[in-house]
Subunit: 298 residues, 2 copies
DNA sequence: GGATTTTACGCATTTCGTAAGTATT
DNA sequence: AATACTTACGAAATGCGTAAAATCC
């Protein structure tokens, strides 16, 4: 059994069982892939893939089970390489951060700037996606760290660190009736609402707040606070956004009203795979996030 | 990075950093070991071992950390091989059972006989050791399944299944004063006691029962019930043994008195590594144990 | 017919083993 | 002096690439 064969087996799944694509990914020719897969299956003694003629179309139950172990080996191998590189020079490397637009724009700038001062040699790749995708990115190794509010909690493979707590705010044009009044759930629900898409940035808490009340008339849902603001400015309705996304300087044409008495507080978390070795600078990045969180109050 | 290099690295730890012994284990010559270790360390870019001249004397911190990953890889590789063999022929294989003398002699015979009827092709290696050693054997891969009463509970890497509950009995010659009387902790403590060694077969529960009472005068402690019986027969004192270890047919020269009202019940458990793939017959062996447990009442 | 996989064969690389040299106890 | 490790070099084995054949869609 060779590491390269195990890696090939793993890559074959990623390429939808295409030998030629797998060959590209492994930087060898197809014929070598054919041969190595044959050798690997021969050593296992049973086929790992279902075949239709010459083509692979699915994995056998045995293949599926062995894939779990192959993934474990892949993970450990990567960890060895990270450990080695980290030991040689813990000031250089790459950090893949997966997060939502709101975090990327309103929370991350400060900690990232601070981090870059300490680690100018570390490249930061920021990857915006939905919370569901974030978790998937962690599992598939496309991201090292995820920062988000939703979903992340009940995955036992994840290390989850609570980062900070925040409340929603309602935003509206200055001349809007709600700009002055006391805000209640009923009054809020009487206006057209613009807010986050399902599964994003505390949206579940908004749902929770209104579940015993009038249904919300959500006229626009976006993943992205800036889109919501834009349409609030156009008079489409009242926006419900994360409190920290209201910027007093930039958004001074809008009024923000705190909703902490109406919508439960949301908790933004930092998550990463327990199995994945975070290089030193990665651990320091997490520290930086936690430090920024203590200062970060809406 | 080669699997064989990772395996070599792992074996080097087992051989106390002896290249020549590692060479034997890997079935290659030393010079090849030297070379492969050089290549591996070169690829890592940092030494994995502390050296004194030409000899390895310890692992570097980096080496220690990488050893964890190497163990994970080793485990996953073994799982692949077990899965493969199991798939080819799940009726043949080897099962390493680690347990204490008491379980081996008084609980295991029935389930093992039943198991062998179903799986005549599976070799059972029974390995007797202290509960502490049992757990170590699981972690080092020397045993697949451990069966014992003590220790096993708080290791998060272990899958622990409660098997059966039992109570201690006091045994003594027929003419012993305790053979007739009501037994209390005080009365029991007034005689010289023979029982299990610390850390064995419910000994902790015996300690617990007597912790608020007179200290026990333990004149003999053994890992093994038969040794205790032997010395009870010689009149050395009263034996406190596992209830199931008293055999009405063989031990009819001794009297057994139930101590369930004095000493808390003990729980025998089945344990195996979560990470370790148990072949089908291994899972069936566990089932057999659990089945036997329901019939097994003292 | 174009794309994909398999088979065949030569070449390059890797890794082992032997043997001699060097260090350690 | 004996044991343990390293270096050097030739031999065996492994694995890749090219090219041609077979199969799938």
């Amino acid at each position: 059994m060779k590491l390269s064969q195990i890696e090939l087996f793993r890559v074959l799944k990623e390429t939808n069982f295409s030998l030629s694509q797998a060959a590209d990914k492994m930087n060898i020719v197809q014929s070598a892939v054919t041969r190595q897969l044959q050798l690997f299956e021969m050593e296992i003694g049973s086929p790992l893939f279902e075949r239709k003629g010459k083509r692979l179309i699915a994995m056998t139950p045995l293949g599926l089970r062995i894939m779990q172990e192959a993934n474990a080996i892949h993970q450990a191998k990567n960890n060895i390489q990270s450990l080695a590189l980290d030991h040689l020079d813990s000031s250089h490397g790459v950090l893949h951060i997966a997060t939502t637009h709101t975090q990327a724009k309103y929370f991350l700038p400060k900690p990232i700037l601070r981090f870059r001062e300490k680690y100018p040699g570390v490249r930061i790749y920021m990857d915006e996606a939905s919370p569901e995708q974030l978790i998937d990115k962690l599992h598939t190794g496309k991201a090292d760290i995820a920062i988000c509010t939703e979903k992340v909690a009940d995955d036992t493979y994840l290390m989850v660190k609570p980062c900070y707590e925040w409340f929603h705010s309602a935003i509206m044009p200055k001349d809007h009736p709600l700009a002055q009044d006391d805000i209640t759930l009923e009054r809020l629900a009487s206006f057209p609402i613009l807010t986050y898409s399902l599964g994003f940035t505390g949206r579940s808490n908004i749902e929770m707040a209104f579940k015993n009340s009038n249904a919300l008339d959500i006229v626009l849902a976006a993943a992205d606070t800036d889109v919501i603001k834009t349409y609030v400015r156009l008079g489409l309705g009242v926006g419900i956004i994360a409190g920290m996304a209201y910027d007093v300087n930039i958004d001074n044409d809008l009024v923000a009203r705190d909703l902490s008495h109406l919508i439960p507080c949301s908790r933004t978390k930092i998550a990463y795979l327990k199995k994945n070795y975070l290089p030193l600078y990665g651990q320091h990045f997490v520290d930086e996030l936690l430090a920024a969180a203590t200062e970060f109050r809406i």
